[in-house]
């Protein structure tokens, strides 16, 4: 399937850690304002794919990326301003990483790093992002508390608020619900439905049903291979293009 004017395009992407190949022959295009679900068992290369996109993989000793990755047609590996690239992408890790600072400072971190100093502007960003992450009501009165004092589910929403704080064009969620309860998960899913209007979303998930609920298209990764990518109803339907997809989605292996 060819996406017209893709927001993001991976071409012949290959990732190696030393001798070990983590991703190979990945060709994938993502449309603007689409939610792309990415499913696959542990070790398939889902996280690696996201880390290619924001170029944090290059900090890992021994990691090597070849192939071509473009955002809006521009090769990300030729961008000189890595920080600038990263500000266009919001990243949410599987386990919430509250920076050792207050709730407020966590959310204000990225704007501050980008040079925003005006208190009014920062206040506005903090409130907007916490509202978007469905956390504002719970922390409104304790913005000065350490971020790490919040509950697990609140911390995960804090990292989502943080990922939104630099108004990214692309939001990457890496198994965000792995450490939180189903109720919070559902709340965040509602949030994502709202956010898709403003950004393109990569939803890496360990819960295949989550992809089914939210994703426009779903990609299935297996041992570094992109087995199949297609409309979600097709991938989850009776006749996906690849037998392995059917088996995985229906829990025949896992």
């Amino acid at each position: 399937m060819v996406v017209q004017h893709p927001k993001i395009a991976f071409r012949d992407l290959k990732v190696r850690y030393g001798e070990k190949t983590a991703l190979e022959g990945i060709n994938l295009e993502v449309a603007k304002n689409e939610i792309l679900g990415i499913i696959g068992p542990a070790g398939s290369g889902k996280t690696s794919l996201l880390r290619v996109l924001n170029r944090t993989l290059q900090n890992t000793p021994g990691a090597k990326v070849t192939g071509d990755v473009r955002i809006d047609g521009e090769d990300i590996h030729r961008m000189r301003d890595v920080s600038g690239l990263r500000r266009r992408i919001g990243m949410v890790a599987p386990l919430p990483v509250g920076l050792p600072m207050s709730v407020y400072d966590n959310v204000a971190f990225a704007p501050r790093m980008a040079g925003v100093t005006d208190k009014k502007v920062l206040d506005g960003v903090v409130e907007r992002c916490l509202r978007q992450a469905a956390l504002w009501e719970e922390v409104e009165k304790r913005l000065g508390d350490l971020g790490t004092k919040l509950s697990g589910g609140q911390q995960q929403r804090l990292t989502i608020a943080r990922a939104l704080s630099h108004s990214p064009e692309i939001l990457c969620l890496d198994e965000f619900s792995i450490a939180i309860d189903p109720v919070t998960t559902m709340r965040i899913e509602e949030v994502l439905k709202e956010l898709r209007k403003h950004m393109t979303i990569f939803l890496v998930t360990n819960l295949v049903q989550q992809a089914r609920r939210l994703a426009d298209r779903t990609a299935f990764l297996l041992l570094g291979e992109l087995v199949e990518v297609g409309p979600t109803e097709e991938v989850f339907g009776r006749n996906p293009r690849d037998r392995r997809t059917f088996d995985y989605v229906h829990g025949i292996f896992g």
Partner: protein, 323 residues
Amino acid sequence: MSREEVEGAGANPGAELGTGLGPRLGRSPARQRLHRAKELLIETVIRVCGVSAVIFVFGIFYFVFREAAPLLFGGLDLGELLTSGEWYPDSDNPRYGAFALIAGTLAVTLLAMLIAVPLGLGAAIFVSEFSRGRTREILKIVIELLAAIPSVVWGFIGLVIMNPLIIDLFDTPVGLNVLNGAILLALMSVPIIVSIGEDALKAVPDTYREAAEAMGATRWQVTWRVLLPAARNGLLAAVLLGVGRAVGETMAVLMATGHSVNVPDSPLDSVRTITATIASELGETAQGSDHYRVLFVLGSLLFLITFLVNLTADLVIRGFKRR
């Protein structure tokens, strides 16, 4: 320790401290008994080592203090000792004013720290955050080598290299002074500050670095805004242990600071430190004399200072481990 061992210990809360290997199913009773005996032996040895370290510390303090006590509680004017600069222990009418010695010690230590703290913390940050692979390994080895140089060699460097250098650079008659001693002490404390400081930075989880970088922070911003605050306590401890090293150092300062009892008002003044005084005068005093005892009083004072500095460092480190 492998995961299996950790779980083994957890699943067997009765297992004694020590190796963490509790008796497992399927072992014969004889072997189990042997195993127990071995564990008991190891535990006892470890306990003796631990206890003896404590005994040594208190023993040292006891013996130093015992020599000092008769004078300390019998006739020594403590006010004079701490405030008067007149140190004439050998005259017919001896006076024991150690203010100049204390001032000398403080001056050398302070200046040393002014040099060592930025240098040491900078190096720790560089080694931990901005160097990789080969460069980092080589740097670490060099810094550890620096820590292994005996202090008498540093003193020698002070005499033979720094002395003429300072005379030339600052156009002073003598180059054995506060500055000389401070530079040597700084170079001696830097390895401590670097290695402990690096540990503190390494203890900051990588997830912080990655999270901050993913939000578009540069390496400098990550270091400055996230890592330094997160490692604050460990870095403070590194500095304090460096201070402890500098206060207690004897040989290098004895050789490099000029050995003149003097309250300094410039880094180019010669001074004499407490440690240097004790080291050079103790051998010439009659055991049990007032002079002999006053040196032990100074020793107790020094012990107290380094003890407090190290204790503070230790408490600070504990704080940063717990969080």
